[in-house]
Symmetry: C2
Amino acid sequence: MRQTIQNLEESKIREVANAGLGRSDVLAFWFGESDEVTPDFIRQAAIDSLQQGETFYAHNLGLPELRQAIASTMTAVHASHPSATPITMERIAVTSGGVNALMLAVQALVDAGDDVVAVTPVWPNLTAQAQIMGANLRTVSLTPQTTGAYAGAWTLNLPQLLDSIRPGTQLLILNAPNNPTGWTLSREEQSAILSHCRSTGTWILADEVYENLYYADTPNGSAPSFLDIAVPDDRLVVVHSFSKSYLMTGWRLGWLVMPPSMTSAMGKLVEFNTSCASLFTQRAGNVALARRAEVTPRVVAQLKACRDTLIPALHSLPDVQVALPLGGMYAFFQLPGHTDSLSTAKRLVAEAGLGLAPGSAFAPEASGWLRWCFASKDLGRLTLGVERLGEWLKRG
Amino acid sequence: MRQTIQNLEESKIREVANAGLGRSDVLAFWFGESDEVTPDFIRQAAIDSLQQGETFYAHNLGLPELRQAIASTMTAVHASHPSATPITMERIAVTSGGVNALMLAVQALVDAGDDVVAVTPVWPNLTAQAQIMGANLRTVSLTPQTTGAYAGAWTLNLPQLLDSIRPGTQLLILNAPNNPTGWTLSREEQSAILSHCRSTGTWILADEVYENLYYADTPNGSAPSFLDIAVPDDRLVVVHSFSKSYLMTGWRLGWLVMPPSMTSAMGKLVEFNTSCASLFTQRAGNVALARRAEVTPRVVAQLKACRDTLIPALHSLPDVQVALPLGGMYAFFQLPGHTDSLSTAKRLVAEAGLGLAPGSAFAPEASGWLRWCFASKDLGRLTLGVERLGEWLKRG
């Protein structure tokens, strides 16, 4: 077996979750997933499709009407002003989840030995995929603010990032709004990055699956996106997912937006990886988009309520360092004196019945941090979790 | 974009099918898919799961009870004699289709520049995957018999294959029963290949998705399999799928059997490629295995009737060279004087209303051949297709 594959890190999140296996008394906030079932009308669309016998192979790039619906939705969010170029369906590929979209993009772009830069801390899948393809991976780290109004917030040193992207750098991997830190790129930062990558010939792979889970006031209800400023032919692939905004984690349905010149190659890569997403799953996605107004705003409002319950409660504990995330569904925080997050997270499971993800799962530099997924139907679960944490710290 | 990806061949099968788009008068036998919907009790299992709200992330390696059911089924077929080592569930990974299982195995095994050998003609996905990973791919071709009782049958030159596998050859890729030729490995050939690959340290990736679609009398109702003779620690990955034996093409559900030492790495690769197969899809697979006796024997009997309708009908046409396939669901045949199968296949669509796959889709050496998928509910469709072919040949 390849040494590269053996060297890939096992998920430290699963390592913590495994420590809590079979314990019903643990409040689990370790995975990036809401505890709410997919809305019934979305499930019904898949059931109808199954009952109608839609059990055959489907198009590599996705059902044309779903690609069109995605293109229309993306255009409405990112290219609605009259002078903008609409996002056309030829630029859309439907994939077996957001992670699959990311993997397909990396396969399209990364030869073994290629120079690839990723901004960390980040969901470990993003860096692992480039390693699977044999990339020479470098990371540029966000830095946590230690004092002032933004203490606990991780921020980008833009000049440092731009310096790291050189002619010959094949790919820049970004996830913003970011899992786990909640860091979000500003429009100005996106413009500077795009402009720099145009000059170096570097592709941008932007994981924007949390763009709808954004709590600042914006005209389009979304975080800043590279799609707002790029032209179709830019070396840019933007990845999305039905998982978070439509409560469809287990369905494994996502998409990507690519330059038109990549579409034919992407169709081949889908064929050679999974061939297609199941048609009944795509029907569900189509209904999710069509009835988006009944799902996403409610999901976002609930997550905002979760965030605004959890963060003040964490602030009320002595010496916990945490910033209000502008996007995503995670609180990322530090407990002073607890520098080994994997061991801390395991102790919290065993001693406090509280399930969190260790920061070291996302980057070595985050090993003093913990991630709390606040997607919870019941706000009381969050309050109870903070109480458990507070009591554990007192006993500490 | 990578040159390697741009160079991958577009599907010539789709090129022919596209030529027939929107023509309801074409009898389509181009894709490797039955025209029968998934049995209702399998669909119902997915519907029940969706109604119960199973819409969350699932295990990377698959639902434990499905892995166990697969292991038991594989043991019953391949290791049922008392002295055999049972195939344990730790050796099973559930994947998003057979093609996804193959891709995961190739990711686990092939570094860029690795020496990889594939036996052709073969389903093009198998060679494309190694190329995506940057392999140095060599092919060893089967040879069609031109005279005698086996005229039209493609057979293996075993010494030539063994000579091509050297110390340092990382991977041998085999698909038997074979798509498109129907060629099947004998037990003796499998033993010789396994023994040789043990001596060179070469991994074997055996695509055995057609093992149940086997028409010779065997004690286990299956084609010879490497699993019948290998030990758990052999460098062997065997890939299977629910698609053909359970009429579940569109579900994208498959599995692989691997050495126990690979399981942990495979869990990581699933996480980084698709994270998991949908739970409701896995529930359907579980019911398919549990009620296998109600599905697979009927599918195989119908395919045998299809084969035994199509092959004699083709033989009745002047000068068509075709052998009776022992396994699979394809007739692979040659029309004398028609050496460019892509052009022939396109002409057959346009001039005869008959949709076949061109041999050149599977290997350059098969460019005089055509593949006919005989999986058809209605035997009359096959007879009608042969009539159309016969009339077209007469018009010549």
